[in-house]
């Protein structure tokens, strides 16, 4: 039972993390190859504040705040670049985060932060907290999708120049997507640190960023249910098959490539295609 609880907890955290990237990349169309940095910001802040004596639950909103603020700063830097250049910029942010953390003694340097104090919750309690926050995030995403903000995000993702002509302040919407998405990543980070009780710079490197991007793409970019499902399955895989843990970049990178090549809409679009093959065939042509 202990094992299942731990697995469910890490699945919930992965889903939350993937949904946070989906908000930026799936909803608003802004690719990010450095999203793990924001998981790291939330994780480090929560871990250090916990060690300083703050109750765990109080560290979560602070982690969200810091990750969100830094997310807006990165977003500001990214406003002038699009598509592939944005991918490279955000990748750079990811490397920058790892590079800085490695060199800082007070952040634990190469050794990371260990012996993170208990949350005070039981294993089951912590699992329920993670699952609950994950569900709230999914509900928030579904709500955003339905709101006017979601309509604008859709438009920005498809054709931001036309959105400008419709009077939309595109930069502000992009920043909003970065703010919400990175804050949620910070929340996932806080849970992550508490769950593993140990974090190091390598937990938030390029491999993690590619892993979470492949979760989003495999699940179905933009689809809340698809991404949640994709993240749940992909995060459980290494637990079921030991070798995947050893070849993470190969497996996730390969999956990312295969999906992009053969089903850019991910599993969500495969399902839609099977369910509604005729209509979908027309939709893909356009």
């Amino acid at each position: 039972m202990e094992y299942e609880i731990s697995l469910l907890t890490s699945m919930a955290i992965s889903v939350l993390f993937a949904l946070s990237l989906n908000l930026i990349t799936g909803f608003c169309g802004q690719i990010s190859l450095g999203h793990a940095a924001f998981l790291g910001i939330g994780a480090y802040l929560s871990a250090l504040l916990s060690k300083a004596g703050l109750p765990f639950l109080a560290t979560l909103p602070l982690g969200m705040l810091l990750a969100g603020v830094i997310g807006v700063v990165v977003g500001l830097a990214s406003l002038r670049v699009r598509a592939d250049f944005l991918a490279i910029t955000t990748m750079g942010v990811g490397f920058l985060f790892v590079g800085i953390v490695r060199q800082q003694e007070w952040l634990g340097g190469e050794l990371g932060v260990s012996a993170i104090p208990d949350s005070g919750l039981s294993k089951t309690g912590f699992m329920l907290l993670s699952l609950g926050l994950c569900l709230v995030t999914a509900a928030l995403c579904i709500y955003i999708r339905k709101s006017w903000m979601g309509r604008v995000f859709n438009g920005v993702a498809e054709d931001e120049d036309t959105m400008r002509v419709l009077g939309i302040d595109v930069p502000r919407y992009k920043l909003a997507a970065f703010a919400i998405g990175t804050a949620l990543a910070g929340l996932a980070g806080g849970l992550y640190a508490q769950h593993l009780k140990f974090i190091g710079p390598d937990s938030f490197g390029f491999v993690e960023s590619v892993t979470v991007l492949s979760m989003v793409v495999v699940g179905g970019i933009g689809s809340v249910v698809g991404v949640a499902f994709g993240a749940a399955v992909l995060s459980a895989l290494p637990a079921w098959f030991q070798f995947i843990g050893d070849y993470k970049l190969l497996v996730y990178g390969g999956l990312l490539f295969l999906m992009m090549r053969f089903s850019p809409g991910g599993m969500a679009s495969i399902v839609t295609r099977v369910v509604n093959s005729r209509n979908k065939a027309q939709g893909d042509r356009t």
């Binding site: 709500y143 955003i144 339905k146 709101s147 006017w148 903000m149 309509r151 604008v152 859709n154 438009g155 498809e158 054709d159 120049d161 036309t162 400008r164 002509v165 419709l166 009077g167 939309i168 302040d169 595109v170 502000r172 919407y173 920043l175 909003a176 027309q282 939709g283 042509r285 356009t286």
Partner: protein, 270 residues
Amino acid sequence: MTMTQQTLLRVAGVTVRFGGLTAIDNVSFDVHPGELLGLIGPNGAGKTTMLRAITGVVRATHGDVTLEGDTLNGLPIHKRIQKGLSLSQQLVKPFREISVLDNVALAAGASRTRSPLKALLHVSQKEEAIIGREMLERVGIAAYADQKPGIQPLGILKRLEMARALALKPKLLLLDEPLAGLNSKEANALASTIADINRQGVTIVLIEHNLGEVMRICQRLVVLDNGRKIASGEPRAVMNDPAVRAAYLGGDTIAEAQQPTLVAAGGKHA
């Protein structure tokens, strides 16, 4: 033009340079409330660049663009749109994932989407859908409201583009070659729709190559050639202007047009 008349949009001494190339050279004209103004000229005359300088896609090197006396200089595109401009683009760009109606409703929701926070707190699209349907009826494509734009012919998409621009409730509607790519029957019908919309009180600047339709529906013309304004005024008078004729019939510059003997001499040598 008479300076006493009220001005909606004023373009004053606008020059646009791209590196060494002067695309627009010291052009001035006014747009009066309620009129349908044709902005014409041969290919490469600078019409689209002029329009882009008005909407803010390109920045004017010199000169002022003012809307109801407020300067638009330096404002980004979306701010100019929010101030009351609206553009129907030459290359139609519908959002293909959403229905024809939702495309127009998205534009109609401009007050909801002005700030992300406001957009986040509102879900219902009911009012905007009503406005959207109205606009689709206005341009005559209400029957296609629930279909996806991807499968529609160009004639429908041109009208969708216009409905979307109208949904912004603009003070000034800018139409960039709405008739391009349509056959003569479709062009004639759409030109009539444009004239109707103007009669309903929308001020329009129309950029168009189809001179027949321009002559039929526009009340006033501004003619550009090689980035300069070479004529303006009542359509028939403008088209009888030798400089305008020369520009359209292949004279290279205004200078040549003003020296018909030179052109004639060149013709003999050739």
